[in-house]
Symmetry: C2
Subunit: 343 residues, 2 copies
């Protein structure tokens, strides 16, 4: 049996959890950690104590801060860096990856400032041949649960069907069910736009509202981000799937989500800058809201939750006024115009 | 200003919460409670201590166990009885309701044995004229939250557009946003079929699984109950709306749900009969699963979660085997056949 090498770029919780999942008898996994101390710690304890505490890693998983060493002879490359670091990471690996390498991208969200989707960054940085090997993974998957073999479903998308199906074969496990979906734009937008709704659900929670309010935000929120997605070329079914609804539900019902936690602080009366300082990390939903607001104004798409969220984040509207605005719009029919109506 | 009378049949939490909401200056509300003690208690304390504790009722809300007295001169009738009691309740009011009365139905779920939707029971019991006045209310709405003015959205449907819009005008409040939807079958089926998925989410929780598993069940569950609903004449958009997705999310994330609690007990290893005994009340999801199972077998619709749920409930399959069956089906594409695919 030929031993394959898997290179994982990014030693956060997700890179570590998927590295563990990929450590099969025929696969050697090497995780690249930017900081040598972290690589050393992972190797000493066989545990990523900082980002995935409590999960023992098999001996087939090793970490290193030497990128060249990690990439050397890898036939599978898993990229799990924040979207803000994706461009820089791809620049670093430029010319060091053979064109047959299968690349699994787990980076979600839009790039700061440019608002590019991850696949747009890949397309700009890689040769067309290598870009056809890029497969994006998304769906409702807390790393902490995947690392504990809790049943999880995810979705893979790619420009290239064969690459997607190769990655599906590679990742399927008894507790990890992998679907494919050809709608790359929808899969990527679902994973980005859901952050607007998660942030809004956080605000509602911070204001002391309940399950009814959250369910309303999830439902009407999914409807409006789908409208934008469809306008941008996505398929509606994708937003009803794992990368849309699934990821939205897992984010809005979880305390792990930074977007939720940031929203809760806003709802409790903190200013944006105070809330950001308290979270201490990037809150993706802020720039996603900005991007979606600009797009919906430009394309004239009805996105009332996004608009109110934007006003809270960028125009100083109070969260309770935002809720009032949402609840008191003129009365309406639930379904979109043009769909089935009373005859 | 003419004083209108609202009769509420059913003194549970939902009847009481909506009775409170309908108690406007121009509206007198009378709640019918089957048991005289309950009616008396509500009137003495101005609180339904048994079913909606902690919520003070305005003086305009009174309770009575005398059905004739409650119905007398009512121009609005709100029916909030369990689906098992709907037929009997409609028989009781037969001939006592004027044909102009607006009837708001909040009964959800399928009738035991016959599997009829609420509107089918209304249609069979009422004159066509009166049936045109029936409007069904559904959506993510815990009574406990509505009674505390927590922002909530609901959806109304009816065979008759004018009746639906009249009820919308009647129920709209700053904290209670009411949409209309012409798809009566979809609105009713959403409110019934979601119980299968709630029960399944309970089982997953009882087995110790996490947010990833629940999000997968919600997503794939909504997809399969939509397939059945569409086959029965519902519109897909309704399942993505408040009566579908919204109600599903609020049920699957709530400890209030009997279906969830029953599922949790099954997941923890209790037998169906032990779990039922411990809940001590009807668990709607059981008969809904039975009905949906029969329908999907008959119509040849793929409903893997429903099938496994049925086997656990009626054929003694263990919950963990059911999960294994679900996770290990052959690998597949996420989107339905016929939808956008790799070209």
């Amino acid at each position: 049996m030929e031993l394959r090498k898997v290179a994982v770029l990014g030693a956060g919780s997700w890179g570590t959890a998927l590295g563990r999942l990929l450590a099969l008898p025929q696969q050697q996994v090497q995780i690249w950690a930017r900081r040598p101390e972290l690589a050393k710690e992972i190797n000493s304890y066989r545990e990523n104590r900082r980002y995935l505490p409590g999960v023992l890693l098999p001996a087939r998983v090793r970490a290193s801060s030497d990128l060249d060493e990690v990439l050397k002879n890898a036939s599978i490359l898993l990229i799990a860096v924040p979207s803000s670091a994706l461009q820089e990471t791809l620049e670093k690996i430029n010319g060091k990856v053979s064109p047959e390498t299968l690349i699994i991208n787990t980076t979600k969200g839009l790039e700061p400032k440019t608002f590019r989707r991850p696949s747009e960054i890949y397309k700009a940085q890689l040769s067309e041949e290598l870009y056809q090997r890029v497969v994006t993974l998304s769906g409702p998957s807390h790393a902490e649960e995947v690392a504990r073999d809790i049943p999880t479903t995810v979705v893979l998308s790619s420009e290239n069907r064969a690459s997607a199906e190769e990655a599906q074969d590679l990742l399927m496990r008894p507790h990890f069910r992998v679907y494919t979906n050809p709608d790359l734009i929808g899969v990527e937008l679902g994973g980005a736009l859901k952050n607007i709704i998660a942030l809004s659900c956080g605000v509602a929670e911070g204001l002391g509202f309940g399950d009814n309010t959250k369910a309303a935000l999830v439902t009407r929120g999914l409807a409006e981000i789908s409208r934008l997605g469809i306008e941008m070329g996505a398929s509606p079914a994708t937003f009803s799937g794992l990368a849309g609804l699934g990821d939205l539900v897992v984010t809005c019902t979880s305390k792990h989500s930074r977007n939720m936690r940031f929203g809760i602080l806003l709802g409790k009366g903190k200013s944006c800058s105070d809330a950001l300082q308290q979270i201490g990390q990037t809150v993706e939903g802020i720039r996603t809201t900005e991007a979606a607001y600009q797009l919906c104004q430009h394309k004239n798409i009805k996105m009332p939750i996004t608009v109110e969220c934007y006003k809270v984040l960028f125009e100083g509207l109070s969260p309770s006024e935002a809720v009032e605005n949402l609840m008191q719009r003129s009365k309406t029919n639930e379904v979109e115009e043009g769909v089935k109506d009373w005859s």
